[in-house]
Symmetry: C2
Subunit: 437 residues, 2 copies
């Protein structure tokens, strides 16, 4: 006999067993339905792309994490590491066939060969949604509203979205005459939740001096209300402008919809990337502060400037589905897995398989997920199968019952059996036991 190959998977990659895959599909389905209720439509792009497309100006961290190789035709190719770069390439390629503003969502696997410490995966699922082709407060508001609605749809109402505006921050840096250190300041302030205020203060002082550091720290601190914070940062930035007006509009719309409590103006949010130009945001679960942001993003000036001259401003957000699934489980918002099959037709005599399949078809037509045990085995074996597969109901039919045209139905959870049921009686009883209409 040949030697066996060990059935291992690559580090950072995972198999998804049915219970987990069903839960992933459930959550994905809720998100998709929510996005579509807001008029967002799905797209998909290839897993594999030309490396120059994915790297763009490239280099740096991304480069090292890339799954990159030469294909059989000698092309330099790589697996996508996020959904933003493929989306930019997609918009540049298809903007003429589409319409603007274009609202899309994309839920798909991405690949990063990064260090797998800290429970990170090398293959994971991202869920991105963006509005492209418009630079307006109403589009910003819509993304924020949709973020909130998505978490509510998943049963999470204790959610808080922290938002800020990079334009106001940039104006403050300009007023303090430290705009040339902009990116370093951004990245330093961005660490405040991780390393604490004192450490950030020390680093800022070294970077821009004591006075500017003090004002920047002041800038980053939320006041007692959205409007009070807005007033303070407006002043530090040198007065009102389009950016602060935009936050005013957005806040009034929060009030119009009565949802202002889900949003916090938190000027310490900067999103380290120089990519963002307008509002930026992160989402925290009030009952799980430790896991960090579960949905982040912001507004960008120009999505696809590497690939087209057409200017495409946009605003978007991204959910890490793996982290969200972990959060739902920890919050107890993952419904108890009840299995897929609702009724198992037991095999008592294999010459009755025709009847078993007939009753199964009838039950499926009546709306029950139904399967027939496909072999005559000991009843204990079939019961154990039903238990492992979490099937709540069993149907039994032997020759004697067949001759009388009746069935038995057993609630496998309570172990109560209902005998001598006709087909309509069986269906009605099963509906009652499963709480179905």
């Amino acid at each position: 006999m040949a030697e066996l190959i060990e059935p291992r998977v690559l580090k950072g990659f995972r198999d998804f067993l049915p219970d987990i895959e069903l839960e992933r599909k459930r959550v994905q389905g809720i998100l998709e339905a929510t996005f579509e209720r807001f008029g967002f439509v799905p797209i998909d792009t290839p897993v594999l792309e030309y490396t120059d497309i994915l790297l763009g100006k490239g280099g740096g961290e991304t480069d090292k994490q890339l799954y990159r190789f030469q294909d059989n035709g000698g092309r330099d190719v790589a697996m996508r590491f996020d959904l933003t770069v493929p989306f930019a390439r997609f918009m540049a390629a298809h903007v003429q066939e589409l319409y603007l503003p274009f609202k899309r969502y994309h839920i798909a696997k991405v690949f990063r060969g990064e260090n797998t410490q800290r429970g990170r995966y090398r293959e994971f699922t991202q869920c991105d949604f963006d509005i492209v082709g418009v630079d307006s407060p109403a589009a910003d508001f819509e993304i924020l509203l949709l973020m909130r609605e998505s978490f509510y749809a998943l049963g999470i109402d204790r959610v808080q979205i922290h938002l800020s505006h990079r334009g106001i921050f940039n104006r403050a840096l300009q007023r303090l005459k430290v705009q040339d250190k902009g990116i370093e300041v951004l990245r330093t302030v961005d660490k405040i939740k991780k390393i604490g205020e004192e450490a950030v203060q020390t680093q800022l002082k070294q970077l821009v001096g004591t006075v500017a550091a003090e004002e920047i720290l002041q800038f980053g601190k939320p006041e007692s209300s959205f409007l009070a914070t807005l007033e303070k940062i407006t002043s530090i930035a040198g007065g009102p402008a389009e950016d602060t007006e935009r936050l005013h509009s957005i806040y009034h719309w929060f009030q119009d919809l009565g949802i202002q409590d889900s949003f916090l103006l938190d000027p310490s949010i900067t999103r380290g990337l120089d990519y963002y130009t307008g509002i930026v945001y992160e989402t925290f679960l009030l009952d799980l502060p430790g896991i960090g942001s579960v949905c982040s993003g912001g507004r960008y000036n120009d999505l696809a400037s590497l690939y087209t001259k057409e200017r495409l401003p946009g605003v978007g957000s991204s959910i890490g589905l793996d982290r969200l699934l972990a959060a739902l489980e920890e919050l107890g918002k993952k419904p108890e897995c009840t299995g897929v099959t609702e009724i198992l037709v037991f095999c008592l005599e294999d010459r009755l398989f025709g009847d078993y399949h007939k009753i199964a078809q009838e039950l499926r037509r009546a709306g029950f997920a139904t399967e027939v045990f496909p072999e005559q085995r000991k009843l204990a074996n079939q019961f154990s199968f039903a238990e492992k597969k979490k099937i709540p109901l069993g149907v039994f039919l032997g020759s004697e019952e067949k001759s009388r045209g009746v069935f038995s139905l057993r609630d496998l959870r309570t172990r109560v059996t209902y005998e001598n049921l006709t087909l309509p009686g069986l269906t009605a009883k099963a509906k009652e036991l499963l709480g179905k209409q």
Copy 2:
């Protein structure tokens, strides 16, 4: 300005624009619901695996088509080229955590760097479903029934599943004392639909001589009925045995369910692979014979013998989703794409955005997919957007109407406007116009 990168995709790879992606999701959703109604559960496996896992005994065609490379850790890895090999590895790894018989479905992308002539893709979606851990006629029957049900669920009832049994064919070859040429004979017979009977006859004669060739050709020809064909092949195989009895059982169950007309006993079906050991089948659309089989598979003795000593017999089937989607379109079974958004709230005055978002939320709660045009632009621009996005209804609100607490609703398809509607009136009219409950 930096030079632009051309936003191209790799040959054999595709972007999916919203209309196509929505249709793919619709079809996939119908298949998933059908599989789950039969108690099949979903799994997923990594896109990337160790090459030795994917190649197994390996070599040959597969090897050349593989997207294979060294990852950053120096591992020899490759992208999955089908869903069967990963499933075998999955079962070997997880059989102890699962239950048998295990019924799974798996819909996912696979990758083959093959020649892209003849409209073949290098990235395409497969849809596999299998019952593993049991070798019984009832399991064979269930897969055949589920294949039929899947096409019916998609609105295709003019479907015919051609089936045969490799065991009976092997017995015939044995009786004719040509079993040592088994695989070559199989592959020759398998070509009959492609190259015609005469060519197959010539090749068979060269392979096994005139007499055996004649009997093999006779074996391959369906008679006027399932039972007549079964009788003939039973005789050529040397008499009844478990294999012919199995086909008898399956046929009787077809009759019990009144579905026998969807199945043809077609002994020319062999499925070239030496992998199969029991029933084998292919599915043809009666209105599109030219596209060949859209769903094929068979029974195998042992799924995961490369990775585990545990014997796992099974029966399964595979649908090529891309070919199926093309078929649905050609058959006119693809519903006219109506877009996702049902109601567009037009922006007449941007200071009313709070009201627009409020009415949109109300309409979403009433069950309408609703979006707000996110910027004050010329009405012509907004109308053109609605048309391109195939949005059927528009809601209008100006200051004057706001002061009276009423809205206008326009059917953008018929260009009829309904004015002075209260919110309940608006909802009722929109339901009526969209034919919603």
